[in-house]
Amino acid sequence: MASPKKTVNPQQNKKVDAEKIKHIAHLARIGIDDREAEEYAGQMNSVLDYMKILEEVETKGVEMTLQVNGLRNVTREDRPLMEVPADELLAVSTLPKIANQIAVRAVIKEE
């Protein structure tokens, strides 16, 4: 099992604190409270500490692997492959519908 034998440059990663967690949560649009922020900060730090084992690996000049089966530029005719009636799609939303559209809260507010 992969357990870290040594850690390299333990000071290199700044610790994630509750404030940072709240900022990330805002970016991810998740509302969290102070207690959760503290808990997640502690857990994320232990996971990020574990990731320091990657500093042992020399990766200079190594390509990134973003996908594994080598397919490139897969194209197809531009037509829908699934015919789902509009009312069935709209029925999935819990929000009110107006003229076959989902009504959402105002995005731009008047100041």
């Binding site: 990663n13 949560a25 998740i30 969290i32 089966n69």
Partner: protein, 486 residues
């Protein structure tokens, strides 16, 4: 009693008209109703639909017009496989009332083949977990010992099959989510090569890693299901136009001279001595049949868990951004002030703690300033892990390892410590990173009567060879015939 039969035996019985699909279904539905309250293997039981589907299969049987070898056979689908008109929750509160208006390709193919659906099975929320403890619908209990987890994330599918409520079950495997529960529940499971089975309509977790595959009682049964679900799908651009061989017809193969690689990095401190003994015994069986064992090295193995918990959350955080409560999802409680507040509340109330943890980690590693240190680095190490396997397969035909460091653990034992839970996947993640297929075979019971699993890893798209080698083991041993007494 049909429950002791394999999928193949049920299929033969239906085709030779020894019994009717509705007779088989009645027992499967009855067992599901009886056992599910104790096991929580299913989020949604679909007994009534199954009865109807079985009656239709009866008619086709009588008319001699059965649709496939799977026609009339009860099976289960993991609840992240979207099914038209049937609630599909992904085990999340955010999709708790989601009734998809379409079928996933894998579901459509199985319905077209005559699936009698017993139900939608439990999983960790959005397949995020290794124990099915992180389901919004409660933990699935292991049929071998109800105080223990069934593994995850496809724990419901594994438990449903081990409890003999169905004859095959579909799961998904991103970092071990079929192999681990198969091992914990003593059944046979296949993680396919990335792209072998269409992901269209299956809730996305980590798009460069997600695969869909079957659980069954035997390798022969897996081959029958894979035959139906594999192949190119225009709706999933990552499925190559590669021929689907007749897996089930080509299972018999002499394994004399087969070269088996035994990677030393998988037999290390932390591996339970009991599991190691059972796995080594299984490899001895192969040796007795004429295979050759060779110690090999996969030096980058020890970095696999670390890069998985960078790459997977990164992809997951992007995929789960779509759950904004607008097109689908939860109606949040409380006063909503504006659109951002709606996102906050929907996602706060809709996602469970493990999913939030992973979204936060993913957002962090992708953020400016951390991208190079984490995400780029992880993708580079992924290349090195892939190359490890390529080198190994130039010397050996397949690789054998344990599936997990130990047998099923107790409920609650690891759920509060994310890292210890993540390390359960240390032996299954490397093959996921390389996108190659791997089989999980039951290979014995520990002193506490808990199943252990042998993992066999093969080169990309070598499913046929993998199934042949797994089948050979089940011809030599009986571990796959052991089921919990319930």
């Amino acid at each position: 009693m049909f429950k002791e039969l394999t999928l193949k035996e049920v299929s033969e019985g239906i085709r030779s008209k020894r019994f009717k699909p509705s007779e088989v279904a009645a027992e499967a539905i009855g067992r599901t109703r009886e056992l599910n309250p104790g096991l929580n293997a299913y989020i949604t039981e679909t007994g009534e639909l199954a009865e109807k589907a079985a009656k239709e299969a009866d008619e086709r049987q009588a008319a001699g017009k059965l649709k496939s070898v799977l026609d009339g056979v009860p099976g289960a689908l993991k609840d992240i496989v979207n099914t038209k008109g049937i609630r599909s929750t992904s085990a999340s509160k955010i999709l708790g009332n989601f009734i998809p208006p379409y079928n996933a390709t894998v579901a459509q193919k199985l319905f077209d083949a005559g699936l009698v659906l017993t139900g939608k099975t439990n999983t960790d929320e959005f397949a995020c977990g290794g124990s099915t403890e992180f389901s919004a619908f409660g933990v699935t209990r292991n049929p071998w010992d109800r105080q223990r987890v069934a593994g995850g994330s496809s724990g419901g599918s594994a438990a449903a099959l081990a409890a003999q409520t169905c004859y095959y079950a579909i799961g998904t495997d991103t970092g071990g989510s079929i192999r681990l529960p198969a091992s914990f529940c003593g059944i046979t499971g296949l993680k396919v090569s990335y792209g072998r089975v269409s992901r269209s309509g299956v809730t996305a977790m980590a798009s460069s890693l997600d695969t869909i595959g079957p659980f069954a009682k035997t390798v022969e049964d897996l081959a029958m299901v894979l035959q139906v679900i594999a192949g190119n799908d225009p709706k999933d651009a990552t499925t190559p136009k590669k021929e689907v061989p007749d897996y089930a017809a080509n299972l018999k193969k002499d394994i004399k001279g087969l070269k088996i690689g035994v990677p030393k990095e998988y037999f290390v401190e932390g591996l339970s001595p009991e599991v190691e003994k059972l796995v080594r015994q299984a490899m001895k069986e192969y040796e007795k049949a004429g295979a050759v064992l060779k110690e090999i090295s996969l030096p980058y193995t020890r970095y696999a868990v670390a890069i998985y918990y960078i790459i997977m959350p990164a992809e997951l955080s992007a995929n789960l951004a779509r759950y904004d409560g607008i097109r689908y999802g939860l109606k949040p409680e409380g006063e909503i002030t504006d659109i951002i507040d709606q996102y906050y509340k929907t996602r706060d109330q809709g996602f469970g703690p493990e999913v939030k943890r992973r979204i936060l980690t993913g957002t962090y590693v992708l953020s400016a300033g951390y991208f190079d240190a984490y995400y780029r680095k992880a993708l580079q190490v992924r290349t090195l892990i892939k190359q490890d396997f390529e080198k190994a397969f130039s010397e050996v035909d397949v690789i054998m390892t344990p599936v997990s460091p130990g047998p099923a653990f107790k409920i609650g034992e690891k759920s509060s410590n994310p890292l210890s839970m993540y390390l359960e996947d240390a032996f299954t993640i490397p093959a996921s990173m390389a996108g190659i297929p791997a089989l999980s075979l039951p290979c014995g019971l520990t002193a506490e009567s808990l199943p252990a699993g042998l993992q066999i890893i093969a080169p990309q798209f070598a499913e046929q060879q993998l199934l042949q080698i797994g089948h050979a083991y089940q011809q030599m041993t009986d571990w796959h015939k052991k089921f919990p007494e319930i």
